[in-house]
């Protein structure tokens, strides 16, 4: 018996791909293990194998392998594969963004998300074990009728970021600033609500802390939403809002090191890794209480109610910018909170969960 992993699409920097590669490292300690993908970015053709290749494996003949499936979006190739293969399945669920967020901007992608959720609904009978990386994700799986659901935290290891040398250009740009720096890290997608963030920032700089800077670091994966967002920033006339787009690890580290506060207005997160990275870089966190954010943050962060509008967000930003005592308190709590996400514990919990069915 071998354990292999299946992902829909493998891309560099993608959180699911990174998790699959991290798990592969663990699984290879026990035996042959590979990652197969229905779609592969050219940069990953050596690390990740095409899905069609799995069936040609000699170990696949008996159908006794265990397949770990990371489900994200719907894909016809994956659906057929799962329907045809007799192997026992373990589902790793990072959540699927509700398609409603995308419908106004990209109907085709919204459809893929919808099909991903349909695929998920077909799986409870096939799956031996479902592993969720947050209690929020686990509750969704239970509601769909998955009989065995376990929560195992994602392997988040900010240590590798600490080893990265911060980008010099961004560091010097940030150190030249007079005022506080608010940082958001995450893809520029509708459910992350960067629009709300810049509206709050607009209120902040026009009414409360004029010298503040807002940095948004994250790849804009949706052209239609990017157009809307860029237009909004332009119309609100915010020269202090820096849209960095996709960043290198060096730039990301420079941003984390140069920021005063980490902010997000996101409305949907299966876990939200940047929150943990921000804590690892001693940044106080400001967020709104949606989905898995409260359980990820714990008491480490200024968590605003879900219905917080840009005015309350701006007031909280101002409080964090201007109250060193509050920042110190939240940073201390963040360090304590990170202990719950110890990467070695997370690895052990994943393996322990797999052992139940392997």
């Amino acid at each position: 018996m071998e354990i292999h992993q299946i992902v829909v699409a493998a891309a560099p920097g993608d959180a699911i791909t990174n998790t699959a590669l991290e798990y592969r490292r663990l699984l290879r300690c026990a035996g042959p293990s590979d990652v197969f993908a229905a779609h592969r970015d050219p940069a990953l053709t050596k690390k990740v194998l095409p899905l069609a290749e799995y069936s040609r494996r000699s170990s696949a003949k008996t159908g006794e392998n265990l397949l770990v499936v990371h489900l994200s979006i719907g894909d016809l190739q994956l659906s057929r594969f799962l329907a045809e293969r007799p192997e026992r399945l373990v589902l790793v669920y990072h959540n699927i963004t509700p398609p409603e967020f995308f419908a106004p901007y990209d109907a085709a992608f919204a459809r893929l998300l919808r099909e991903g959720r349909r695929e998920l609904a077909r799986l409870p009978e096939r799956v031996q074990l479902a592993i969720a990386d947050s209690e929020y994700n686990a509750s969704e799986l239970r509601a769909l009728g998955f009989p065995r659901v376990r929560v195992a935290p994602l392997v988040v290891d900010p240590a590798h970021l600490h080893a990265v040398r911060p980008d010099h250009a961004l560091t010097s740009k940030l150190s030249a600033l007079d005022g506080p720096v608010l940082l958001f890290v995450g893809q520029l997608l509708p459910h992350k609500r960067p629009d709300l963030l810049v509206e709050a920032y607009h209120v902040l700089v026009t009414k409360l802390v004029p010298e503040a800077t807002l940095i948004l670091a994250g790849y804009p994966r949706l052209a239609a939403f990017e157009r809307v967002f860029v237009q909004l920033v332009r119309e609100l006339n915010l020269p202090g809002a820096w849209l960095l787009g996709g960043v290198t690890p060096e730039e990301l580290v420079a941003a984390y090191r140069g920021a005063t506060v980490f902010v997000t207005a996101s409305e949907h997160e299966g876990l939200c890794v940047p929150l943990l990275e921000a804590m690892a870089f001693d940044l106080p966190v400001l967020a709104r209480a949606f989905t898995a954010i409260p359980e990820t943050l714990g008491d480490a962060g200024l968590l605003l109610p879900a219905d917080s509008d840009p005015l309350l967000l701006a007031e909280a930003m101002a409080e964090l910018c201007e109250s060193p005592a509050l920042r110190v308190e939240l940073v201390a709590r963040g360090r304590r909170r990170l202990e719950a996400f110890d990467p070695d514990t997370a690895r052990a919990e994943f393996l322990a969960a797999l052992l139940e069915v392997a």
């Binding site: 419908a103 629009d195 609100l236 509008d309 409080e319 709590r333």
Partner: protein, 403 residues
């Protein structure tokens, strides 16, 4: 936040404080009413403009979702006793037929979906291509407008600088031409410095005679209305125009036909050839250069052939005038040289222009000749005559131009 009591309660307290601060800012007016709604509405507006509406694809997806045909979806419940059982029995009996029908419906639905898919794909392609082309053009336009705006701003800055410079350079004239609104009454000023009404009536009686047979006469800047009275006495119909409302009111009270208006403006309202005579007594020294040339051109049009224009003004050829009277009136702009006025009327096509020297300085004010007939006395007296001509020429002159 209290560092001794970490936990959600202290965060809740902080959130409440933050909420209270937002409310306080609202009350104090720091936040305009409905700020958050305005921001939200603005975002929706941008999103609607830049992202496009509900796509055909979404509508086709809705068809997909609705095409879940299954025998289980046919209700078997019933309000009647045993009805449910009966439904299930019937359903079981006709299960084969039901499945047959469902299978046909499924095939049909699949065929419809396939057709829709085939139609949507090229449509989406067109939509995306056209959409991106349009948005590309919009981006180009946006950039163009922005660069034009910058260019305009730069030009505007240049213009503002040029205008500022011109204003600075032209300031002396501008100050003189700025509206003058004294708190004293013009009539009091005229009474104090121009002489009594009786004196003026005497002074202008002869000049008025020149208007005999030139009806109607328009008197621009009639002042206290001496000329109007003299014309009335002469039996010549006349009308007066004045820019000072008090003087207009006084003239009207005396029974004269008086209008509150600027002379040139009023002239423009008249039909060509409507006037027999036009009088401007001590007025043109108040006019700007352009107003003066406009006045002469208007006079040429509004006074009928044979009619007369009489302009009396201070004589700049007399230096005595500048020492005694010209600067007494703060509204005097510049004296008009008789040769220039003569030139203007001739250029405008008037048939005859004559100049009458008026109001010479009193005899005791001018330089006196020395008695004797020798060479020295003759030289001195020649010099005295030259100096008198230069210093003590007539204080006023009148142009009498015949159309």
């Amino acid at each position: 936040m209290d560092a001794q009591q970490p936990g959600s309660s202290s965060v809740d307290e902080l959130v409440e404080q933050l909420r209270a601060r937002v409310e306080e800012r609202r009350r104090s007016g720091a936040y305009p009413p409905g700020l958050e709604h305005d921001l939200d509405a603005h975002y929706r507006h941008v999103a609607a403009l830049r992202s496009g509406g509900r796509s055909i694809r979404e509508r086709v997806d809705a068809v997909h979702d609705a095409a879940e045909f299954a025998a289980e979806n046919i209700a078997t419940s019933s309000r009647f006793r045993g009805g449910s059982l009966l439904h299930r029995l019937v359903a079981k009996t006709v299960a084969r037929q039901t499945q047959g029908v469902l299978s046909q419906v499924r095939s049909f639905a699949q065929a419809v979906q396939d057709v829709l898919e085939a139609m949507v794909e090229p449509l989406e392609l067109v939509d995306q291509t056209a959409g991106s082309a349009v948005s590309q053009q919009l981006e180009i336009l946006h950039a163009l407008i922005a660069s034009q705006q910058q260019a305009l701003n730069a030009q505007r800055a240049d213009l503002v600088e040029i205008i500022d410079r011109r204003v600075r350079e032209a300031r002396p004239t501008d100050v003189a031409e700025a509206p003058f609104e004294p708190w004293y009454e013009s009539e009091r000023f005229e009474a104090a410095f121009r002489g009594s009404r009786r004196e003026l009536l005497e002074r202008y009686r002869d000049l008025t005679q020149r208007f005999a047979g030139c009806e109607p006469v328009l008197d621009i800047g009639f002042g206290r209305g001496e000329l109007l009275q003299l014309l009335d006495e002469l039996g010549v119909a006349a009308k007066g125009v004045e820019t000072d409302p008090v003087l207009v009111k006084l003239a009207a009270e005396r029974g004269f036909d008086a209008v509150l208006d600027d002379g040139n403006t009023y002239l423009r309202t008249l039909e060509d050839g409507a006037l027999g005579g036009l009088a401007l007594i001590q007025v043109v020294e108040h006019l700007g250069a352009q107003e003066l040339v406009d006045l002469v051109a208007l006079a040429e049009r509004k006074v009928r052939p044979g009619g007369k224009v009489i302009i009396e003004t201070v004589n700049p050829q007399s230096l005595y005038v500048f020492a005694r009277s010209f600067y007494l009136d703060p509204t005097h702009l510049r004296p008009v040289h008789p040769s220039y006025l003569d030139f203007l009327f001739r250029e405008a096509g008037f048939s005859a222009v004559e100049i009458e020297w008026r109001n010479p300085p009193k005899r005791h004010e001018i330089l006196q000749e020395v008695p004797g007939d020798d060479e020295a006395a003759r030289r001195i007296n020649a010099n005295v005559a030259n100096l008198n001509a230069l210093l003590f020429a007539a204080q006023d002159y009148a142009i009498i131009a015949t159309r």
